[in-house]
């Protein structure tokens, strides 16, 4: 196994990564709060604790690269420059939501900047990302498709089919397993044949098994940069396993009580955001710079929440729109 050696980008870029993580954290904390207030319905799957994976990658990706993520996809969609007020509006089911209120928390999509969808059936988006990478090659665009998924996904058939085809066709796709140690409520180790669910299986596809600290944004940025460059050089796919932890349960319905207290305590002590803040301070960032980001993000999230709360409910006239490319839903004449 290779553990990525850290050599992060310059301080300004790292401050931007810090800001991205903080935006993601505040966005999800607000989403959670709005759920408790009864404004966000259905369910939410928060990635609180896993922000370093999304931020490290988003910072390393090219503007026209394509992101495919799961129902735990608020962070990934937000950090590919989706408009925050419209994302929050979608969680509230409002007309200004990125999907007009038709998608909801599990289907956030912002195609204009390459956030090509949050996929809520485990495994489905791996082959879809393969297809997007295939089109990128055929059209000569130089894009890379990046596909984020959880540890549980490594045990579904689509994982195998997608990895195999991506390698056989030598496609520019980066598979990123966010191993947060739990497949929904069950420890991943108790339902998986190997210790590292993604990295240990890389050999089956002739790939290097890449394990990386998913709570370290510098390590994620470095690993992402390497994999993206490799893909753009025509060297094919990568499979990365980022070890991380979700601070809460699987979804709104899950308090996460199956996790040992000591384990939770240890991982909360490795919260990527305060850890990174301290590292940047050690690296020369002033408290003024860091505090400025903190304050700016508070204003940023307040504005997003206000925008969402003020956004109107969708018109019921929109129900039967956008089934077909003509904008409608007619199935007969």
């Amino acid at each position: 196994m290779n553990v990525a050696v850290v050599a992060g980008p310059d301080l300004d870029a790292r401050l931007r990564v810090y800001r991205m993580m903080l935006e993601a954290r505040r966005f999800e904390e607000s989403a959670h709060q709005l759920f408790l207030e009864g404004l966000v319905k259905g369910t939410t799957h928060l990635g609180i604790g896993q922000e370093a994976v999304a931020a490290g990658f988003a910072a390393a990706m090219r503007a026209d690269d394509l992101t495919f993520c799961t129902y735990r996809g608020h962070n990934h969609t937000l950090l590919r420059d989706a408009p925050p007020g419209r994302l929050m509006s979608e969680l509230l089911g409002r007309s200004e939501g990125v999907c007009g209120g038709k998608g909801g928390s599990m289907h956030l999509t912002w195609a204009p900047t390459g956030a090509m969808g949050s996929y809520a059936i485990v495994g489905a988006h791996l082959p879809i990302a393969v297809g997007a990478a295939w089109a990128a090659v055929e059209r000569g665009t130089g894009q890379v498709a990046v596909c984020f998924f959880g540890d549980g996904t490594t045990n579904i058939g689509a994982f195998h089919e997608a990895l195999n085809l991506a390698v056989v066709w030598d496609l520019p796709v980066v598979f990123v397993c966010e191993n947060n140690l739990y497949m929904e409520y069950t420890p991943i180790g108790s339902v998986t044949a190997v210790e590292n669910p993604a990295a240990d299986r890389a050999a089956a596809y002739g790939l290097e098994g890449l394990l990386v600290d998913g709570n370290d944004p510098d390590a994620m940025y470095e690993t992402a940069s390497d994999a993206l460059a490799r893909a753009r050089r025509g060297k094919g796919p990568s499979l990365i396993e980022a070890i991380t932890y979700r601070h809460g349960g699987h979804s709104r319905a899950d308090p996460g009580t199956y996790r040992p207290d000591e384990e939770v305590r240890q991982w909360l002590a490795r919260d990527p955001i305060p850890m990174y803040r301290a590292r940047l301070a050690d690296a020369g960032a002033s408290e003024e710079q860091l505090g400025g980001i903190d304050q700016s993000v508070e204003l940023w999230i307040e504005a997003a929440v206000e925008e969402a709360k003020a956004a109107p409910e969708p018109s019921v006239d929109s129900i039967a729109t956008e089934v077909w490319a003509d904008g409608g839903s007619q199935w007969r004449n």
Partner: protein, 325 residues
């Protein structure tokens, strides 16, 4: 000028026509390239369009369908072949949950101009897992267009229309028709999805049929004619969009309706069509509508068992005659 070609030759001709026209049209699937397809529906395409545009895949239906979905999101107009329609069950998540719903769930952000071609239907002794008529599966999912042609000419015209359509299309090719022949005109052929075809006209009854049931319905109509019953036969061609105008017009003209469906009884396409007729043309009817379907059973393999299961010319003739007595 017109030429007599087989239904299977029509598939390759349609794909060649569209690949020639649009460099973004690609074809992938199991054995479609070097082998020319297990049903020999794609021979010559690899040689003509090259290994990038005509590509063999592993036996990975989820990867095949995921690949065309992702490619359609990123600028191609891909065509996937699923060797037998029964295999759609192995990738139905991609078809029904992803492809069908993505435009809607994203409020129109993501378009999916793609075609999934698949060999469908029975009558060739393959048994229950390689013989089903599964148009109904696709018909029941909002967001999928569903095409099932019965003649070589319609294969070309409707496959071309499907490739050019901006929405996902499931294109069912009937295994039992691959060897059948029909005339096709020279030159480019492009049809229109959602138009049924009145293939025979008569005042006494309307027989609605799809795919391999169309030639059977026509043969039955000839036999009925010998008994003095003149039937209209409508080839639906597409289930989505559904040409209800043509159907209801035929009902109004004849007052008696029969559906001939290869699928098992429950929730067959005829059930939907009959419910539309009941709601919108009830007072045009002179007698109860009758559905002629396969029993609600899996298809058996043996000649005598399969032939007795799928609607036959004799069963159509007998059913219509009895009903008109």
């Amino acid at each position: 000028m017109a030429e007599l070609i087989t239904y299977r030759e029509a598939v390759a001709r349609a794909l060649a026509q569209e690949m020639e026209r649009d460099p973004n049209v690609y074809l992938i699937g199991e054995d479609v390239a070097a082998a020319g397809g297990v049903f020999k529906t794609t021979p010559g395409l690899l040689e003509r369009f090259g290994e990038r545009r005509v590509r063999d895949t592993p036996i990975s239906e989820e990867a095949i369908i995921g690949a065309v979905m992702g490619a359609a999101m990123n600028g191609l107009r891909p065509v996937a072949e699923i060797m037998f329609s029964d295999f759609l069950a192995t990738c139905w998540d991609l078809v029904a949950n992803q492809i069908a719903k993505t435009r809607y769930m994203t409020d129109g952000q993501v378009a999916l101009p793609l075609v999934i071609r698949t060999a469908n239907g029975g009558g060739v002794r393959f048994g229950a897992q390689h013989s089903q008529s599964l148009e109904n599966w696709a018909m029941s999912v909002p967001g999928l267009k569903v095409v099932a042609p019965s003649t070589p000419k319609d294969v070309i015209a409707l496959l071309a229309a499907s490739v050019r359509d901006p929405d996902p299309v499931i294109f069912f090719e009937h295994k039992g028709l691959f060897a059948s022949r029909g005339e096709v005109p020279d030159g480019e052929l492009v049809g229109q999805l959602g138009e049924a075809s009145v293939v025979r006209s008569g005042p006494d009854a309307t027989i609605l049929a799809l795919a391999a049931m169309v030639p059977k319905a026509l043969q039955a109509a000839d036999e009925l004619s010998a008994q003095g019953i003149e039937a209209t036969v409508v080839d639906l061609r597409c289930l989505v969009p559904l040409d209800t105008r043509t159907i209801l017009s035929a009902v109004a003209d004849t007052g008696r309706v029969f559906t001939v469906e290869e699928n098992p009884r429950l929730c067959g396409w005829g059930a939907e069509v009959v419910s539309i007729i009941a709601e919108e043309a009830f007072y045009d009817l002179d007698s109860p509508v009758v559905r002629i379907t396969t029993d609600h059973i899996p298809l058996p393999a043996s000649d005598i068992l399969e032939d007795a299961t799928i609607p036959s010319v004799t069963r159509i003739v007998d059913t219509v005659t009895r009903s008109l007595d």
